[in-house]
């Protein structure tokens, strides 16, 4: 069965799977909230106080930004990426392989595709929660322009879908949980560094700039930065389109590799 056909097996019951994860999340909600609450403070302290002094101003779309203004939205984008990616790699893998949660679910009217959709939408939900908390924290430092900044919430859901789906594809491919190191090294780390996160991509050579535009995180950073700064430009639409198409194309692949892994 190919991924595109598998999409037809998804029903609204996927929200039952999502709900199961929410129930578990709420059990330790305090711990789950603490990380996005305090992590940005650590980053802001390190980069804002430490590095800023060395770096000075960064030029962005013709305006001069302090380094902290430049990287705060990027940290937001990275948080969105990490929350969904790690949820749909390590956490999903544990549920699938060690806890056999998916096996039990498949003995109910849920389809495998409902389960995978529920997991990915849950990953995206975690991205939204983390983004909301972090947005609140950095807005205290005057780093978010409102109401534009609120657009980051729907964008964090889209970003969560993208990176959760990427994670799920890896979950369907890796033979053991230790093997996640490889996709992290090949995919996540380069994105973390070269998506206009810590320095503008305009400083890169031409070919590397083109390559950087293919990375979904570049587009997520672009969107977060523009919304934090209160900019509304037409190229933002392209970033949204790129991420949407990326998700639409990759989601059936996630369904396909998971079916191949779990059903024989």
């Amino acid at each position: 069965m190919t991924g595109a056909l598998q999409v037809a097996n998804i029903s609204w019951r996927f929200m039952r799977v999502w709900n199961r994860n929410l129930v578990v999340y709420r059990k330790i909600w305090l711990v789950n909230f603490l990380v996005p609450l305090f992590e940005p403070l650590l980053y802001l302290a390190a980069f804002g106080v430490g590095l800023s002094a060395l770096i000075g101003k960064v030029s962005h779309n013709g305006t001069e930004l302090s380094y902290i203004e430049f990287i705060a939205p990027a940290l937001l984008a990275i948080t969105i990426m990490y929350n969904a990616f790690f949820e749909n790699t390590y956490a999903s893998f544990v549920r699938m392989y060690y806890q056999k949660t998916f096996d039990a679910m498949m003995a109910t009217p849920l389809s495998l595709e409902d389960i995978i959709a529920g997991e990915i939408v849950w990953g995206a939900t975690k991205s939204v929660i983390a983004a909301a908390i972090m947005l609140a924290v950095i807005s205290f430092f005057g780093l978010v322009h409102f109401p534009h900044g609120l657009l980051i919430l729907p964008i964090s859901f889209l970003g969560g879908l993208v990176f959760g789906t990427v994670g799920m594809v890896f979950t369907g491919l890796v033979p053991s949980i230790d093997m996640f190191n490889l996709p992290i090294f090949l995919f996540i780390t380069p994105m973390f560094l070269f998506s206009g996160t810590f320095f503008p991509i305009s400083t890169l050579p031409e070919w590397a700039q083109t390559l950087s535009l293919a990375l979904p995180l570049t587009h997520l950073v672009n969107l977060c930065r523009s919304f934090c700064l209160g900019e509304m430009t037409a190229d933002l639409l392209w970033s949204i389109v790129y991420m949407t198409v990326f998700f639409i194309l990759l989601f059936p692949v996630a369904l396909m590799v998971m079916r191949r892994k779990l059903i024989n």
């Binding site: 019951r13 709900n19 096996d103 009217p109 059903i263």
Partner: protein, 307 residues
Amino acid sequence: MAENQTYIIEAAGLRKKFNGHVAVDGISFHLAPGECVGLLGPNGAGKTSTIRMIYGFSPMTSGSLKVFGLEINFWWRQIKARIGVCQQENNLDPDLSVLQNLELFARYFNIARKDARDRALQLLNFIALESRKDDKVTSLSGGMMRRLVLARALINNPELLILDEPTTGLDPQARHQVWERLELLRANGLSVLLTTHYMDEASRLCDRLIIMDHGKILVEGKPADLIRSHAGDHVVEIVNPGQEVKDFVEEHDYLHDVLDHRIIIYGKEADRLFDIIGDRFCVETCIKRLATLEDVFLRLTGRELRE
């Protein structure tokens, strides 16, 4: 059975092939309403592959399979909503409490929140685990976990209960606890399909047995009939038998198996094996007993180890 009554399960030429290996090789069988059918067979015989096709976990390679009169390939979601499954592994959700395991499972069946709670509490009462409802499932004993898996399989009031080795690894007390509950459910008319390695479990719970090996059905029938036709009534086992026993058995054409240090002779009641062979040829150790399902199983599937 009346013509207009549909079978709960109806399989014809059911085949399952994966990774180039034929797990189920064209089997045909049925399960009538209210019946309990046991699937027996050594490891790798194709029992689990068969039931996985029935509860819509793995797709069949070829053949036809109807559950509640509906084609599984098309109506899988409707069928799965009416089945309860106890899988081989205790795959309870370790992130959830005992009660939540049942409640959230009910939600997968679209059972309303309040009904889910009521049903969950009722089932906890049935398996005598109400006092543990808020505990983590990891704190339960093996027998308690198994009972909870059984309760979970009943959350949707299934019309068919599928049990894959329901009492494997349990101590005798826990096994009897599970059996008693299964007998209660059977008395209420629930249809059951079960796999097991325990012959006592099969003869106690099942109306009819299917013995499988290498993906094929070897025999099927009522436990007592299978014993009578494949192992007779009386069995005499003689340890370190002399040549004269062997000659005697050959000469009289008794059904028998010769093992390394033992001969097992099967006979009908009228054969008077106990008197004729037992008394005459017993030198060292000699066992006179009734034929069991285990005799049938070993005679049909052989005594070699399966890995």
